[in-house]
Point group: C2
Chain length 332, copies 2
C-alpha cells in the first residue's frame, strides 16, 4: 500500500511507493559527458570572470591571479543585478520591482576535476567558510533580506559548467518556500514551545530508521516525507537558527559528515546529479527559537511532471527508510 | 534591468530577464525519439491495459475491444490505489495515511500518432468531455476531495508512453498548490469583492500585451508572472469556479482555442514537450464566487535547479509580453 506522508514543517505531502520501492540500481543515472575545452574557472583564466569579490589565497598572491584555494566572483550572466534601486510599483492589478540582487559563484577548488565528495576535508571547510563569509558580508546591504546558497551538480541538475562550484543569490524579499518553512516552524513552536527540527532530530536519533550518519555535532537523515528518492538533510544537533552562528570549531565536523554523505550518495548512485540548498534564517535575524538551519540535498532522479506542477505533491518511489539503509550499508 | 514579478493570486515571485530575453530559436528542443514497438494504448491491445472505466465508442462495439474514440483505464502502475480505507495515523511527530486514490489514463485517440495540436476539433471535444465525466464520476466517492487532471507530453515532460494520453489523480486531500490558489483568490475576494481571475481577464483584454488568442467565450494569455517561458493560461471569460459547470455549448469553443493554442506553441517551438493542468474547484464545491477554473500550459524549456528548489522562485528568460507576441505572430 502506498503512503501519503506529510512534511512535519510545511503542508507538503508526498506519495511514497512502499511496495515497489526503487533501489539504487533501478535508477538510470546518465553519465556526465565531459566537454573539456576552455574553463573560465581554472587558474590562469581569472581575467575571464568578473573580478573576484573574495578569495582564500596564498599569502602574497595578487587578486585575480593564480594562487587561490577558493574564489568568489559575480555570475557573468546574473539573474539579478547588484546596482540600482528596487523601485517597487504596480501595473494595474500586478506587483513588480526591479530585479536587484546579488548572484555570485563560489569556485570551490582550483582543480578542474575536484569533486566535493572527494576533496580533502580542509578544502571542504573552505567552502563552508565561504558560505558563511558571503552571507555575513551581504547581510550588511539593507536592500537584501535573504541569501540563498545552493549547488547544482551535473548538467541535468542545472550546472552549465563542470568545474565544481556553488552559487548564491541575494534577494530583496524572503523567498516563498523559506517563508513557508519559517511559518510552519513557528506554528509548531507556538503549539509546543519546542523547535520542530529539534523534535525531528530527537525522533530520528531515537528511531534510527532514517538515520544515515551522525557525529558529535551533526546528523544526516533521509527525511520522513522526501520529495526526491535519496533526499538527505544535514542538521546540527544543537539548536541554532542561523548558519552564521556556527562556532568555528564546528566547521570541521560539518565538513566531515557532509563529505561522507556525498561519498555515500555517489557510491550508491554513481555520479548522480544533485542540488543542495542551505536553509538558514533570514539576514540579520539571530537566535530564532523556532527555526533550525540545515542543508537539504536533492538527488536528481525523478522529473517534475504535470502532477507535481499542479499539486505541489511529489511521488517518490523510494521510501526514506530504504534509502537510508542503502546509504548506511553502501561500500565506500 | 531584470524584473521581480509577483503572481497576483499566490505569493509566487519570478525573475524575468527583460534584457537578454530568450526568443523561440534560442531554446534547444531535443527532438523526441520515436521508440516504436508494442503500444498498450493502440486498438487491438485493449486486453493489456486494466479494464476500461469509461469509453466513447461506436454503437454496438464491446467494452475492451476496438471501436472506441477515447478510452479511460486505470494506470497499470498507479501511484495510489483505489481500494481501502485512509487509516489516518501518526508516527511520533509525523502524519501519514494510506495512499488511497484514483490514478487513471485517458487515451485520447485510437491513432498512435495523434497529437492534440492536430486532431480534429470534435475529437478534442471528446477529450474535454472525458475530463468532465471523470471528475463528475469520482466526485461521487466521498473519500476523494480533489481530482487533478493533467497531461505530460514528451519524455522530458514525464510521458513514458508516446501514444497521446492525459492522466488524472483523485486525491483524499486538497493538494497544497490548489489550496494556496484557493486561499489567494479568497483573500482578493475578501478585499475587493471581485474574483481575481475576472480582474486579470479584464486587464489582459484591455492591455492586449499578453493576449495570445480569444474567442467569444475564452481567452489564452501568457500570465504576468510565468514560471516557464511560453507558459499559457486558458480561461473562460465568464465567471465559473468549476470545470464541471461548463455549458455543453461551450465545449466546442474551448476545444477550438485549446487546439489553436497548442498549434501555435508547436509552431513557435517545434515539438516542445509540455505539461498542462486543469485548475478547478474541489469536488462537490459549486459556484464559488472567488475561484475561476482554467488550464495552465507549461512548456518544458528550463530546469528546476537548486535556486528553484530552495526558494520557490523561478527564473524565466522570456518575458510573457515577448512570448505572447511570438505566439500571436507565428505562422501556422
Amino acid at each position: 500500500m502506498p503512503e501519503l506522508r506529510k512534511d512535519p514543517i510545511i503542508d507538503r505531502w508526498v506519495i511514497i511507493s512502499t511496495e515497489r520501492g526503487k533501489r539504487p540500481h533501478d535508477f538510470v543515472v546518465e553519465p556526465e559527458v565531459t566537454k573539456g575545452g576552455f574553463c573560465p574557472f581554472c587558474p590562469g583564466n581569472e581575467h575571464v570572470t568578473p573580478p573576484e569579490i573574495m578569495a582564500y589565497r596564498d599569502p602574497g598572491s595578487a587578486p585575480n591571479s593564480p594562487g587561490w584555494r577558493l574564489r568568489v566572483v559575480s555570475n557573468k550572466f546574473p539573474a539579478l543585478v547588484i546596482e540600482g534601486e528596487l523601485d517597487k510599483r504596480g501595473e494595474g492589478l500586478y506587483d513588480l520591482m526591479n530585479g536587484i540582487g546579488a548572484h555570485e559563484v563560489i569556485i570551490e577548488s582550483p582543480d578542474h576535476h575536484a569533486n566535493l565528495s572527494t576533496i580533502p576535508i580542509a578544502q571542504f571547510v573552505d567552502v563552508l567558510h565561504a558560505y558563511r563569509d558571503r552571507i555575513m558580508d551581504l547581510g550588511k546591504d539593507d536592500r537584501f533580506r535573504y541569501v540563498l546558497i545552493f549547488k547544482n551538480k551535473g548538467r541535468s541538475a542545472g550546472a552549465s559548467l563542470e568545474h565544481s562550484h556553488s552559487q548564491l543569490i541575494g534577494l530583496p524579499i524572503i523567498p516563498e518556500l523559506v517563508q513557508e518553512e519559517l511559518d510552519g516552524a513557528k506554528r509548531h513552536y507556538q503549539m509546543k514551545e519546542r523547535c520542530v527540527f529539534c523534535d525531528i532530530i530527537r525522533q530520528e536519533l531515537n528511531q534510527q530508521q532514517r538515520l544515515v550518519l551522525e557525529n558529535q555535532e551533526f546528523l544526516a537523515i533521509c527525511p520522513f516525507a522526501p520529495r526526491s528518492p535519496f533526499e538527505i538533510w544535514l542538521l546540527p544537533k544543537a539548536h541554532h537558527s542561523s548558519y552564521v552562528e556556527m562556532a568555528e570549531s564546528s566547521f570541521w565536523l560539518l565538513a566531515e559528515i557532509f563529505s561522507q554523505t556525498l561519498k555515500r550518495l555517489d557510491a550508491a548512485l554513481k555520479g548522480v546529479p544533485y542540488n543542495f540548498i542551505l536553509h538558514t534564517a533570514p539576514l540579520r535575524q539571530r537566535n530564532l527559537e523556532h527555526y533550525h538551519w540545515h542543508f537539504e540535498i536533492m538527488p536528481k532522479l525523478t522529473l517534475m511532471a504535470g502532477f507535481e506542477w499542479g499539486s505541489g505533491f511529489f511521488i517518490n518511489p523510494t521510501p526514506p527508510e530504504d534509502a537510508s539503509r542503502y546509504l548506511r550499508e553502501v561500500e565506500i
